[in-house]
Subunit: 326 residues, 2 copies
């Protein structure tokens, strides 16, 4: 019986879980910034968009203030999960923890920091975060969830958590095997995010255009086919066709999270997206040249930000005039 | 007998040719900007660096002011060659025209616009352009030149042009087949330029680093191997090892021209570098997935500049806060 829930990370997705679950359980938010915790504790969370309501919750940035919880949802950026869980993971011992992070590898990080049953999760819902305490709910698509194999999570635990999320007014589906949904999303996500990060284009019609030799749609198609071949070698039959997901998303002009990261010079989630596919392929002894190439380019792009700082003496004006033959 | 020479395009490389050749022939520069022509006509060209001298030359941006020339060197950016040659190409009819542009495909463009013998050229010299009339000479490496096959250029014509360039104080080598030098440089150049353009790193030690899975050196190595396999399929045995060229260049922290273009939002030469390798592979019926992928990313990056302008209504502040789960 789930009575107390902890939401780890309150971005757009975490805020949607926290506000909804507060209707059916006692909800704590565990967040990184102290001001964020104070604002949540004081003002709660306001939801607008396809639903409109307000929830009061408890919130802290200090794990010692967090009571034991029966159930947690990890909704941090994948890059921040290890830091968050190493602080609060023990509060979930004996309970269950759902990963709602992007990509592959999040469940492994969670399992390293808690003695709880871990649940694989993939969420297709979306929202826009307008402030620390205001989230706009956009797509009410489901969270797909299933057992994380290494913790031998019972299916009943998955079903109970899914039932709670549904009762809270969100959509969740308990699956015996959540990998087909997770892999479909990670293939879609890693392909679209990597191309957006490197071109600085949002997810726009060019991503599905295959009319000429230089068209980006050819590259997206090849990335997705390569990802599917890695999934097949890993024994995962996909839940949805990532190419169809790409063609739908390409109509939205939505800036993927990795593009926002690049614009803000913030470390991207590439290690959990294309990097995870590349490493999985290497582990399986197969080639994934495109995901591997784009992974290395994005790591190089991240490195360029500190290169600039370390080489401040480089004269920008000279760079502009410098024109040798290579 | 070469008496009158035209240098088409006076960037760093064109300026070095013009200033040196003015010692042994009558030199005209044909340039795009009127102010540039006026400055050259008035002040000539000052060379500093590993050599130091001044040359007076003639210059114009109006092809009707250009007399017939026995010999021309095309040193524009590859992207500007068609516009330049369509204006001035007929002034070289019956003479010889050397391509000193980056990449592949420049000779074909020249041949389309003149009834001259065309010469394949690849220059390894380098300089920094400090102003319209001042160039710093840096590397005095040779220009490799040979016949362009479709115009049946006699070897004697190549030898005469090389002799003139040598007499002017530069280094040139006449070859029966200039493709091995041209392909070695284009493989090096397309690999290094594409990675620099997409990561925004200059040609730095990371380009030769292969210590970890995410290291960029692996990508450079794979790009170069792929380029070599396309050259082999095209029947070209390389003149130098592009990987060794990369390892040497990676010590310089030099910003490749395509990185400067990206910084200035100027159309890059990618169609003549990675794009040319990708198309050549497609023509030969073979795969060149990495050069093709990076080519499409760079075309996408160029497209992003006009996408931004067409979508000015997009609220940057909202982008920063927008954090959905993909």
């Amino acid at each position: 019986m789930i009575r107390r829930v902890c939401i780890v990370g309150c971005g757009a997705i975490g805020s949607l879980y926290a506000a909804h679950l507060a209707r059916v359980a006692e909800v704590y938010a565990f967040v990184r910034r102290r001001e964020h915790a104070q604002a949540l504790q004081r003002d709660g969370i306001r939801v607008t968009g396809i639903d409109a309501f307000h929830s009061q919750i408890r919130a802290t940035s200090d794990a010692s203030e967090l009571p034991p919880c029966d159930f947690a949802i990890v909704a941090t950026k994948a890059t921040q999960a290890a830091a968050a869980l190493s602080a609060c993971g023990h509060r979930f011992d004996g309970g269950a923890v759902l990963s709602a992070q992007n990509g592959l590898g999040g469940e492994e990080i969670i399992a390293r920091h808690t003695r709880a049953y871990v649940l694989r999760g993939t969420t297709f819902m979306s929202g826009t975060r307008h402030s620390d305490t205001h989230v706009q709910y956009e797509l009410d698509t489901a969270t797909w969830m299933g057992p994380f194999e290494p913790t031998d999570t019972p299916f009943e635990t998955v079903a109970e958590a899914a039932e709670l999320i549904n009762r809270a007014g969100l959509k969740a589906e308990a699956l015996r095997d959540a990998r087909p949904a997770q892999w479909a999303k990670v293939i879609f996500n890693s392909s679209v995010n990597a191309v957006a990060a490197l071109t600085e284009l949002p997810h726009c019609p060019a991503f599905a255009d295959e009319r000429s030799f230089s068209s980006l749609g050819h590259l997206l198609h090849a990335l997705i086919e390569e990802g599917k071949s890695v999934a097949a070698a890993a024994g995962v039959a996909l839940h949805e066709d990532p190419w169809k997901m790409n063609c739908l998303g390409a109509r939205t002009n939505h800036p993927p999270s990795m593009l926002s990261d690049i614009r803000n010079r913030a470390t991207t989630e590439v290690d959990f997206l294309g990097g995870a596919i590349a490493r999985e392929a290497a582990r399986l002894g197969m080639a994934a040249p495109l995901h591997t190439a784009l992974y290395r380019l994005i790591k190089g792009k991240e490195a360029s930000w500190s290169f600039d700082q370390e080489n401040q003496h480089a004269d920008e004006a000279e760079h502009r005039l410098h024109a040798t033959n290579h």
